[in-house]
């Protein structure tokens, strides 16, 4: 491999993102497809090892370090950008694809970084890129969401940075290797990572922001932030037991909220949290099988989740509606979208012969191998839950169910191809998992298609499918109430608030007088000093400046002589 081929793929992507706004017409369309393709080519040309080294302050940096794990994530990120770019080709916002490529390029930068400083730098760029993607939707909802989103991520960035700084000062070594949870710095790094993974108690940013993006923006958003977090956890904290329980919490959080939800894209957003939960659990288990499973699951998850969001995006673009209760019966006029969406739904439910089956089962298998019965039980129960909320609920209410009377056509060719390619990949990986297994960080000693695996999985799916249709009447009622979770805000929330209010009432009245007074005098103080003639604002007369000179001189003399 000659030296000249060592091009940083993330920089290819980011440079492309910066060039795209200058292009117009078919040159731009070609550019949209070419940039990720070139990135992928640059990536495949890289040998393994620390390819770039540089010195920054007193630290040795490795901005480009390749091993199997980082290559796996970088490949899927580049693939995702390619399919996402194709899907978003007809998106009217000119900002979105460049922003998405900046975002994707930064994500690739994180996974190819061999040191914590580079990780942090690209981490922040990722926050900027994703905020811009969200922003480019151009709706007031997206604007408001982007502000909350950026606040959470900047806060996460600050926590991460504090952790990285502490780590540097403790060890003097910037390289990004496995860390133990033995110091405050490492805990801060873990928290910074987990915020991006959508872990509790910060998981709310994800379902809050993602559904507000444009029909194509959500596709990009779903892929990078959480999966980059999975990658850094894989590299930094494999086998940290706390991650098992955080992961399981995320799995059930996702399921419960997705079942209560009515907005089709919000259902899918909750299911991201749920699926990332599987990966985080795998990282927490920490055996080679589990880590392989987490990596493989991230790979296949990106594909089927993007596919699901593409089909939801196609529906949204065609109908302008997001709520399950307003949709239904679309299979009449959108057959292709229905098929692709259903394939995505089957894959997320880990149906045999889909990509979800060959990856998620590795995590469950690792739980069995590690004799973690409780964890296994949770995972199995969750698998059934996934089928309920994403595998059946999403396609059933959107494409089938009652006929809503809508007859929108299938989306234009560029969007169709994005979906077809990913649908194909979902099935292909399910049938021939070996190419994916070959990319995994550890040697794979796992056969997905044994009779026991297939039968267990089918039983699970069968019974939860049965449960869905048995309880359909109950689940159907969901759409008639606009939002099930509303209950939380409307009934439970105020009830809790009343209890608190009663308890805190006296305290509050006592305090509020004080606080009001404090704020009033603060406001008065500020307004007094904000005015042009305020103490600090006005230009002082020369005399008072000279007076200060004397004061200072006397102070110094006093200090010296005493």
């Amino acid at each position: 491999m000659s030296e000249s081929l060592v091009v940083h793929p993330a920089l290819v992507m980011i440079a492309g993102a910066l060039l795209l706004p200058a292009l117009r017409g078919s040159a731009r369309d070609a550019g949209v497809l070419l940039v990720p393709a070139l990135t992928l080519a640059a990536l495949l040309a890289l040998p393994e090892g620390d390819l770039w080294q540089m010195q920054w302050l007193d630290y040795q940096l490795a901005p480009l370090a390749v091993d199997k794990l980082s290559r796996l994530f970088a490949i899927i990120f580049a693939l995702m950008s390619l399919a996402g770019g194709a899907f978003a080709l007809r998106q009217p916002s000119r900002l979105e694809i460049p922003a998405a490529y900046l975002y994707a390029g930064s994500a690739i930068g994180v996974v190819l970084a061999g040191d914590l400083i580079t990780v942090f730098l690209f981490w922040e760029f990722m926050a900027v890129g994703s905020t811009l993607v969200l922003w480019s939707a151009g709706t007031p909802g997206a604007w408001a969401a982007s502000r909350r989103y950026v606040a959470v991520h900047l806060a996460g960035g600050v926590i991460l940075f504090a952790g990285v700084t502490g780590h540097l000062l403790d060890t003097g070594d910037a390289s990004f290797t496995r860390m133990q949870l033995d110091s405050v710095a490492h805990w801060l790094i873990l928290i910074g990572f987990l915020i991006n993974a959508g872990a509790p108690p910060f998981s709310a940013w994800l379902p809050d922001a993602y559904p507000e993006a444009s029909w194509s923006g959500t596709v990009f958003l779903s892929a990078f932030t959480t999966k980059t977090a999975v990658y850094v956890l894989l590299r930094g904290f494999p086998g940290s037991e706390i991650l098992i329980w955080i992961g399981i919490f995320m799995i059930f959080y996702g399921i419960v909220y997705a079942l209560l939800e009515n907005d089709m894209r919000r259902i899918l957003a909750y299911s991201i949290v749920n699926q990332v939960g599987f990966m985080v659990t795998g990282i927490g288990i920490g055996t080679e099988m589990a880590l392989n499973g987490a990596a493989a699951h991230a790979f296949s998850h990106i594909i089927y989740k993007a596919l699901l969001l593409m089909s939801a995006g196609a529906v949204l673009a065609a109908t302008g509606r997001r709520k399950c209760s307003e949709l239904g019966g679309l299979f009449h006029s959108m057959p292709l979208t229905t098929i692709c969406g259903t394939i995505g739904a089957l894959a997320i439910s880990s149906f045999p012969l889909t990509s979800g089956f060959i990856s998620k089962s590795m995590v469950t298998q690792a739980a069995i191998d590690g004799h973690l019965q409780v964890v296994w039980l949770f995972l199995a129960a969750a698998s059934a839950g996934v089928f309920l909320h994403a595998g059946i609920k999403f396609p059933w209410f959107v494409f089938f169910q009652k006929d809503s009377g809508l007859r929108p056509p299938d989306p234009p060719a560029s969007m169709r191809w994005g979906m077809i390619v990913f649908a194909f990949l979902c099935i292909a990986l399910g049938i021939w998992p070996d190419p994916l297994y070959a990319l995994l960080p550890y040697p794979v000693d796992y056969v997905p298609y044994t009779a026991a695996h297939v039968i267990t999985q089918l039983q699970l799916l069968l019974f939860s499918g049965l449960a869905f249709f048995v309880m359909l009447d109950y689940l159907k009622r969901t759409p008639t109430i606009t939002l099930d979770t509303d209950w939380l805000w409307r009934v439970a929330g105020p009830a809790v608030a009343r209890v608190f209010a009663a308890a805190l009432g006296k305290l509050r009245t006592a305090l509020s007088g004080e606080i009001d007074h404090g704020f009033q005098s603060l406001a008065l103080f500020i307004s007094r000093h904000r005015q042009p003639d305020g103490l600090l604002m006005r230009s002082w007369p020369t005399g008072s400046m000279a007076w200060w000179v004397m004061v200072l001189l006397l102070t110094y003399l006093l200090l010296y002589y005493v």
Binding site: L57, M545, A546, W548
Partner: protein, 494 residues
Amino acid sequence: MNAAEHLPALQVVLPLAAAPLAVLIRHRLTAFLLVLAAIWSAFAISVLLWLQVGDSGPISYAIGNWPPPWGIEYRVDALTALVLMLVSGVAAVVLPYSRASIEHEIASDLHYLFYAMFALCVAGLLGIAITGDAFNLFVFLEISSLSSYVLIALGRDRRALVASYQYLLMGTIGASFIVIGVGLLYLETGTLNMMGMAIRLQGLTGDRAVLAALAFLTVGISLKLALFPLHQWLPNAYAYAPSAVSAFLAATATKVSVYALLRFYFSIFGETAIFQRLPMADFMLLLALAGMFLASTVAIFQQDLKRLFAYSSVAQIGYIVLGISFDSVTGVTATLVHMVNHAVTKGAIFLLLGGVMLSLGGITLTRVQGMGRSMPLTSFGIVLCGLSLIGVPGTAGFVSKWYLILAALEHGQYWLVGAILSSSLLAVVYVWRFVEVAYFRAPLPGDEVRREAPLSMLIPAGLLVVATIWFGFDTSLTVGIASDAAQELVRSGR
């Protein structure tokens, strides 16, 4: 004798001679070319001197071949080389910019005067840095000050006159304090040569006249430095001066005063016992912190962008002085790195603001709203520099704050880390005010079309913006020289 030996003299003489020539010529293009040639060669000389210092250690040059105790000595060490390159480098960038900029700000029959004063100011600042003679330092300080009063007064805004007048009064008080201090030192030591003073001061512990000299020098230099609360001349002077002058002074004038402070503190008083037992550091720390917080807070409420960034300069000087107050190699390194980084950053901002002034005719926050659309490059440049003021990683400002934090930790003062970070948050606020106005408000009617400043202004400004980012990644130049210089300074003090 070959010319290379006379580089230290040429460093100052070239711009100094260009000034009267420019006045004699009275033709603005010729004057411009002459001064440009002088300043660009001064920059080249400063780089050569730096290389020489790197090769063969400090250079001592006796003016007129009179050896040091009798004649004036020019002395170039790592610190001097750094300041020389900074001053002449910024001047070399600002001068080409000024040609288009003063076209709109200064009456054209005064242009030759502008160039003459500019050359004189550069000569003065370079002289302060290079001289090894305490009285000579005062002379150059006066040369640079007097010429900068004229430069500020050239501003078309009539408030420039008042600002310049105030600066003149305050500057003169400062200069007299410095000359009193130097005089007292001369009385006590019998020499004006800095090295000589340093040696003789070692025997004079507890001498009241020496203490008074130190106090006078500290206050005098603090005034020129715009250390809180002696900063009040600065915002108006920067705000109403012509754009090129604001940029040049913001980038260099206070930085050279920092140099003078370091020189007096570490090279002259450093080896005496006085310095160590005075509560100096604590008091400076206090003033630095007050500057960081109060000036940043005041900056938040400014309406005029030039004033906003002028107050931010006062705050940044707080960081610079904070580094000195640690009295350690890391602390002084932080000071020097921040001196360079802030010079580059602030220089870039004021150059960009000059372009805004030219295109939009005003730089109040209400005037520039929506300029993200009409002047995308300029706005983006200001935002990048703003990030550097905040200290975002990947910009120059981060590197200097990093060293400040290291110095604070080294000192065991953890609360200071919190103070540095929280004052950075104030910078976030005032930078965000610009971002919000420039990007999230609709442009004023008539501003929708693109109208960037002319290229002759954009390119110099762009150079400094690139340098702001460059020094955030490649720290070998800034931190390299700064830590060498800091080691020399603090070692000579221990």
